[in-house]
Symmetry: C2
Subunit: 224 residues, 2 copies
Amino acid sequence: MSTAREDLTGRARLRDAAIECFAAHGFDESLRAIAARAGVSAGLVRHHFGAKEALRAECDATVLARYRALKNESLNTSPQQLFAQFPSSRDGGILLVYILRSVREGGDAGKDFIDHMVAEALEFSRDAVERGILVPSRNEEARVRFLIQQSIGAMVVSFAMHPELPLDDFGAVMDRYYAEAMLPTLELYTEGLFTSREYLDEYLSFMAGTKNPPAGRAGENMTR
Amino acid sequence: MSTAREDLTGRARLRDAAIECFAAHGFDESLRAIAARAGVSAGLVRHHFGAKEALRAECDATVLARYRALKNESLNTSPQQLFAQFPSSRDGGILLVYILRSVREGGDAGKDFIDHMVAEALEFSRDAVERGILVPSRNEEARVRFLIQQSIGAMVVSFAMHPELPLDDFGAVMDRYYAEAMLPTLELYTEGLFTSREYLDEYLSFMAGTKNPPAGRAGENMTR
DNA sequence: TCGATCGCTATACATGCGAGTAGCGTCCTA
DNA sequence: TAGGACGCTACTCGCATGTATAGCGATCGA
């Protein structure tokens, strides 16, 4: 990642250019545009990868690997990123934008990203509840999946409102979003939204009356 | 809407077929497929609308109009739909799926839908705060926009995980999602997530130290 | 020094799309 | 009943894309 672009082999340059193009313009970006960005000819894509699908697969794998690496090296669990733990560096920015686009597009790559984050967040959440930092839930897994869907979804929607993201300075775009979402997130997570418990209690007693003992599990595996 | 399909003119049949196709398969659906679904030839699209873009625009306008109508006639503000107030009928289901796809795709149509919902929710929110139902926010508009982005975004992500939505029974898909999201939503809105106020207070005192008096307004107009 | 492999380019298909044109039948009207 | 507008279809064109093939030139080992 920190290697100068000129030092990379054509294959790697093509892969990195594809990641940037996909992140900035979407996965429908043409092979010719990707090749132009990499400074090579279009035919080289086929030479190295055989088909566009394979190039895409390698991009997905690379992004996931880099995301995990970047996450491990800076084990930041700052409060604002509890359920959307993302690095805000320039390198991290493009990774997140790529991931958001994958989720937005649907398909297996997006599913994998989401599942990966849910698994990570579930681990963190169980621990945080045990340490008394988070309020416990009646269905921990359903809550975590829901919170991830909300957090990622809010970013997806926010970015979808913009016609095209700038090719450079992904980090700045991220910072803008964080600044916008920080206060509402902290307010909601700290003070909630309802002033009374009646809606929740009503739902709980309603569900207790059904033959569905663990409330809220209906359709739980919907996103799998 | 309740008119039998055979009674409609070709133009209306094309428009309704396009709405269904767009909702089920996305906006890249070909004119030929839409025409086939409407039971007419592909050239008729051009005859009536001139170009695909115009057909799309008419679909957008129709969906928004029907959504507003359906919303007005059933002024339901049940707690679970506070910030994603949607009808769950069959007709309402396809409208919501269409809207979700518009948002997911980005562009002006999605923006309009979001802005419309934000405006509606802001009105409701101000009133609910005044009536003591909702906890007040330090920045009401930012919170509303954020909650809408979260609510819609969660649905977008959830639906994006599915390769293709069923052409029929949009309502059932909606019900599955509600069943999945209800408990976490009520828990979060009622009990919050953090056990202590320290994260929020820390952020507030930090923002008070900057020259940015109304905390959380940075990048507020990002989604416009 | 030979030659073979490798990285890469240029060019040529095949396909699917939106858009455009010509013409046929039908219904409404004068 | 003749005429014309309208709804609609069949066919064609240009364009962009992914895919495929042929060939060039350099590097490296025998």
